[in-house]
Amino acid sequence: MTEQAASLPPKPPFWNDPHIRAIVFQAVALIAAITFGWRIFDNTQDNLSRLGIASGFDFLSSSAGFDIIQTLIPYSAASSYGQVFWVALLNTLLVSALGIIFATLLGFIIGVARLSKNWLIAKLALIYIEIFRNIPLLLQIFFWYFAVLRAMPSPRQSLSLGDTAFLNIRGLYLPAPHVQTGFGWVLAALGIAIILVIMLARWARQRQMATGQSFPVLRMSLALLFSVPLAVFWLMGSPLHWEYPELRGFNFQGGLVIIPEMASLLLALSIYTAAFIAEIVRAGIQAVSHGQTEASFSLGLNSHLTLRLIILPQALRVIIPPLTNQYLNLTKNSSLAAAIGYPDLVAAFAGTVLNQTGQAIECIAITMAVYLTISLLISLTMNWYNRQVALVER
């Protein structure tokens, strides 16, 4: 025993012991971080009291006194700053959600076009991608807003599409649907149709498991989804009324208005993000080796089933994580709305409210917290979905 102990190398001095070093380093880092935080807090307290700004969230209940050009919930100049927050948040969510939908559609189409066997189509898709992802988003927003939509004619000379939709400097005017009594039944029919489709899919699956016979679920489901609500719609005597925009005096009245700020933001966000999504889709499809397709064909699956059962599930596994990142980016990029005055969270809340009240810390903190929450929610949802499609290994 003593011999062994003697042959061991001498213990390193304590300042070279990794455990002690780790503790010292961490203590130093923590102390530095806490001191830094405390200094900032202290300075802020000093500065606030010197400037006479009362901190706290009381300002949220006082009256805002300014108008907002697009509100999804009731709002007037007499509403509180708290109400401004909700209006602004809904505007952000609206433009992000629409942007995600359009960008995904456009991105998938262009990504598939990039892989087309047709040389022209593939090259056009490549040109689209290379042009739009290499130009700053803000520049694209400005282009659509100042060079295109602000250059539209006045309401009297609007560009019209069959006298139902009008485009002018005030925005895009579309017919607005107005529901009338009895439309609830149509919605109920749609709900019943969805339940029927779920039951049908379950039954078809069980039958295929038991007997091996397949059932055209997709076609039948589409037929059900369309026919049942349409039949009820017709039976109830078309309880939907379209209100067309009309030129009265100098402006259009009625209808659904998409303000130019929203339109240009949406256009730029969708076009820009679609270029990135297209590359992700291309990479995802290319990641599935050709052997998979060949093996599937040799098993006797047709090209439709090969796509649905073999290629897509494997491609989605590669596509989902970077796609999530793009959705997050789009949501965060929607904050560029501030540059053209679309009343989103940054423009209306971190901009106007901050300038009016001077509550810089509270406004910025709330805004950042909202974006952090949205980021977290989107990544949680997508992680959950990712787990559903992930490879199940031994």
């Binding site: 780790a22 961490q26 880092a29 300075n43 022209l120 988003l137 400005f142 540059a339």
Partner: protein, 369 residues
Amino acid sequence: MAGSYTPHPDLPPPANVVGVPGWVRRNLLSSPLNIALTVLALYLLYVTLPPLLNWALFNATWTGETREACQTNGGACWVFIQVHFDQFMYGFYPEAQRWRVNIAALLLILGAAPLFAGRVPNKLKVRLGLGLLVIYPIIAFVLFKGGLFGLPAVDTRRWGGLLLTLVIAGVGMTAALPLGVLLALGRRSQMPAIQSLCVTFIEFWRGVPLITVLFMSSVMLPLFLPEGMNFDKLLRALIGVTLFQAAYMAEVVRGGLQAIPKGQFEAAAALGLGYWKIMALIVLPQALKLVIPGIVNTFIALFKDTSLVLIIGLFDLMNIVHNATTNPEWLGFSTEGYVFAAAVYWLFCFSMSRYSQSLEKRLHTGHKR
């Protein structure tokens, strides 16, 4: 003796599978769907290309001094760009001092050119690169700012145009990479306190939009600092941009660190190297090589994001072009202005992405099949 078997010479391939007709048939007309797609693509080109070319080239006005030179035939008015060109490049930098910017640009080009040449020895390249990263910013700063060596001082508020865009992008890139590497190492560290500090920092900056960061740096930073201490606007923007990009860079570098097998760390430790030597000599060279595309992508994103400083009132390329389009004397030429700015941004971003692709190919050693 029957005649020996002499095969006919091979027939040439049919005329419609080789050459141009064959290519067209294979790539454009192979199936009914393909034919339809070709027609669609040709129609798209027919609708967009001629008006675009007419506007940008054939009907455009190229020479002149005032806006009266244009306004003729619906073409672009490039006179607008010509008149404002110096402003777009230098912003409000005093005209008599612009040679300083030119010299700095020339130095950068001269210093960077050998890095792209094939024949220069690698050791020289590394030295030049380090010089560009460490010494060049100091020279450039002295040249731009002045106030030393008899150069008249130029306030940062007068910097603008492409100059300012490149300053923000350059400082952001050179500062964000080392900071990002440190953050990534911290995130992979075994020490819980350091790891959680780094994770918090990274996730916070990645979760918020850059625009709120810039808002914060312009509105909140003055509140954080002790009374009487204040930064100029450019420095505040630079701090915001750098911290923001460092968080993204950290995630890219972490991807590379995770791809290095554990054996490399263990082998290096077995050789008796300490932590920093393991990282600097063994792990980081391999990890950074793996993530070059990601790093360049972050640089491209940073370059595009510099346009956001417009929000806090700095006159970078984007803002100065926008400002010129609202000039009452030159109203109505916003399309030309934005197209010009887009072309400049595009040129930088596209060449960066091409360079990253070539670098990736050149550095792709070892696992080539």
